[in-house]
């Protein structure tokens, strides 16, 4: 069953300086019950606006939204259900726990609003606190707690009503990297326990991939690609998705007879593969970690530069007049100037990008 359905959702607004800006364009999506689904994109791509439309904080310009089969927003039919009637759970980036209420009162708030009997409130709050590892902190005020604990209050407050849908708006961005990882596990665990459907908005690709069953990448108000994290990482449909989901090398090549030659020097064979049946000018996209760097086999070149990172080594190897970045485990150690060989695995091929797309992005970035 589809828990969340968006049909032709569009949001545009008019400002004095820029005229009409389309923040979200013709957005279509169905999220299955119990699925964890991420919206990923750079800031200003429209992901938060879409989430706020689902929550009911923003009106639509066009289209309709269904939650659990119920029509909650429709511009044409003039249907708009206010946020308090949508029965969602939501967690915000800045935690938004109420500083004048203690932990217990914060978490009990949604039940008190619904006028539940006192005994039931007590039981359900205790359960929610237990699930979020906040036992014993009932009487404490949020300002005396750490960022991670505050975010757990927000989570407990969201799960206490047992919602079908949980909206998470960059909930981990205000936490330090170490906490972020453990909160990610926490969210996953709670989902298993309660079975809610998650929409997770983030600009951090690793976070999105670690958490989601499926995800989408947005840019400039448009959905670029929808799929599982593995599909998106290994088969990005365009250059934008490729570069947004991790580090990328883009090399201009000419493909002839299943062989890719360097564009600037067509005698320089870079890659050959049996499955390569394209022809003409292409951009070869490779992942720095999907290149095998060794001392005996592949395309012969030299190390231009070594950079030691905490988890891996990063090398720039010379390719024609340019270079390609390669990442290897620490044990694979080279020095700058060392001769070496590289073997490229599973590259992606894109038609050279048109200028105007880059210009549009430029324009958007100045907003």
């Amino acid at each position: 069953m589809n828990q969340i359905v968006l049909e032709h959702v569009t949001k545009s607004f008019t400002t004095k300086s820029l005229g009409t800006v389309v923040a979200v364009r013709d957005f279509n999506l169905s999220v299955k019950k119990g699925e964890c689904f991420s919206f990923l994109g750079p800031s200003g791509c429209g992901k938060t606006t879409t989430l706020r439309m689902i929550a009911g904080f923003e009106d639509l310009s066009e289209g309709s939204i269904y939650l659990g089969g119920r029509l909650v927003s429709d511009k044409r039919k003039n249907i708009y259900l206010p946020p308090e009637k949508r029965e969602l759970g939501m967690v915000f980036q800045a935690f938004a726990v109420w500083p004048h209420l203690n932990v217990y009162e914060n978490v009990a708030f949604p039940l008190k609003v619904k006028k539940r009997p006192h005994s039931e409130i007590k039981k359900r709050v205790a359960l929610a606190l237990h699930h979020c590892d906040l036992d014993g902190l009932e009487k404490v005020y949020p300002s005396d707690l750490s960022g991670g604990q505050q975010q757990r209050i927000a989570l407990a407050r969201a799960i206490v009503v047992n919602p079908d849908v949980m909206l998470l708006d960059e909930p981990l961005s205000n936490l330090d990297p170490h906490l972020r990882e453990s909160m990610r596990f926490e969210i996953k665990r709670l989902q298993k326990e309660f079975g809610f459907t998650i929409i997770f908005v983030t600009h951090d690709q690793a976070e999105a991939m670690a958490l989601s069953d499926r995800m989408l990448v947005m840019d400039m108000g448009n959905i670029q690609q929808i799929g599982t994290p593995q599909e998106l990482y290994h088969k990005p449909v365009n250059r934008f998705v490729h570069s947004f989901l991790g580090q990328s090398n883009f090399t201009d090549v000419v493909i002839r007879d299943g062989k890719a030659f360097l564009k600037e020097d067509e005698s320089n064979l870079l890659f050959s593969g049996t499955s390569l049946d394209l022809k003409g000018d292409y951009v070869m996209a490779t992942r720095p970690n999907a290149i095998d760097l060794n001392r005996q086999d592949g395309y012969k070149t030299t190390i231009l530069k070594r950079t030691s990172k905490t988890d891996f080594m990063e090398y720039l190897v010379s390719v024609g007049k340019g270079s390609i970045m390669v990442q290897t485990p620490h044990r694979n150690f080279f020095r700058a100037g060392d001769p070496c060989f590289i073997k490229i695995k599973d590259p992606a091929w894109y038609k050279p990008e048109k200028k105007d797309i880059e210009e549009e992005r430029e324009r958007r970035n100045t907003i």
Binding site: S308, Q327, P329
Partner: protein, 356 residues
């Protein structure tokens, strides 16, 4: 001759001893990184060299000249030590234009006007900021302000700079770019730079030599990035440089065992790098691979796809360790939670065990 020589420096704030008998020699023409966890006293070293704090003990020499000596009661004030300093918060004076900021050290040295102008321009050229001479600091971005700060430090002293977390306040992309620029600048001018940071990655990328401070303020290791990665001096350095697993091991009957809830044999000979019968094995998650033939059996507790790699938490009896595998292609084999796997250890290191 050493550029900077610290000998027996002791600094304490009240009861708390930050630096205890620290000695360090810094050769000219290099970038020296001083790295360590927060509170280890790295900033205190910089402040002592600059003259902003007075050590209780020891000697500080710059270019062989004594700047501070407790014994001989020498304490040259900061304005006479001729060090260029770049601060974390830029410390660009907001009421002065870019030009006036950079010209300030020259004016204080009493240089005639006609000499100041070309030297300011030269400094601006070095940091690619010539066009901004007339701007006020508030009109500049964070990265540009940091460049002005570097130019000012250069006019103050072109052969010796101290940078204290100079790029921490910039965003990730700019940080990368500034690191490259600092390196290029240093190579062109041959400046000696002391670079203070908590970011070991930036230090490894930028510095010729890295001084790693332990939390108690003592020096854990001095070396190039290669030496530190390939031969970490101790467990602290290994742990500080990257994600790591530590497994206690014991030698019994000529074989090596993991000394966990039960003894698990993992090598049928005594590892060459190991001395004694008990040790702590340190290994990076990337250096553990799945190997069905290995005698070390474990269960996958968690498998997380992060794009460039899979991150596994793998359970050994009484211990969970982290394993990372590069995710090369969509069809590459991945392991799911609950699966039993064999583990092989590629590049293990041995450190002292506390209970040994």
């Amino acid at each position: 001759m050493e550029k900077v020589e610290l000998e027996g420096i002791c600094v304490s704030y009240g009861e708390h001893m930050v630096l205890r008998d620290l000695s360090l020699k810094i050769e000219p023409g290099q970038i020296i990184g001083i790295v360590g966890p927060s509170g280890c006293g790295k900033t205190t070293i910089a402040r002592a060299i600059c003259g902003f704090i007075k050590p209780q003990q020891g000697t500080i020499k710059i270019d062989g000249k004594t700047m501070f000596s407790h014994k001989d009661r020498v304490d040259i004030p900061p304005e006479q030590r001729h060090i260029g300093v770049v601060f974390q918060d830029y410390a660009i004076w907001p009421h002065l234009s870019v030009y006036d900021n950079i010209a300030y050290p020259l004016k204080k040295r009493g240089l005639p006007k006609e000499e100041i102008s070309p030297r300011v321009h030269y400094a601006l050229e070095q940091v690619n900021m010539v066009a901004y001479e007339k701007y006020m600091p508030s009109q500049l971005s964070g990265g540009q302000q940091q460049r002005v700060a570097i130019a000012r430090a250069l006019t103050s002293s072109s052969d010796f700079l101290i940078m204290d977390e100079p790029i921490t306040n910039l965003d990730a992309k700019l940080r990368e770019q500034m690191l490259v620029e600092i390196r290029i600048l240093q190579q062109r001018l041959g400046t000696t730079i002391i670079y203070i940071t908590h970011d070991q990655e930036a230090a490894m990328q930028l510095c010729d030599k890295i001084v790693i401070l332990a939390p108690d303020g003592s020096i854990a290791q001095i070396g190039s990035d290669e030496e530190i990665i390939r031969n970490p001096a101790n467990r602290f350095v290994f742990q500080f440089i990257g994600v790591s697993n530590f497994i206690p091991v014991v030698i019994d009957d000529g074989k090596a065992f993991f000394d966990l809830e039960k003894k698990i044999p993992y090598k049928s000979h005594i590892p060459g790098k190991m001395t004694g019968t008990k040790a702590m094995l340190g290994i990076r998650p990337m250096d553990i691979v799945f190997d069905e033939d290995s005698p070390v059996r474990a269960t996958v507790a968690q498998a997380i796809f992060l794009g460039n790699m899979y991150n596994y938490f793998v359970r050994l009896p009484g211990m969970e360790i982290r394993v990372q595998q590069i995710a090369i292609s969509e069809n590459a084999k991945s392991y799911s939670e609950g699966q039993e796997v064999g583990l092989a250890f590629l590049e293990e290191r041995y450190f002292e065990r506390e209970d040994a």
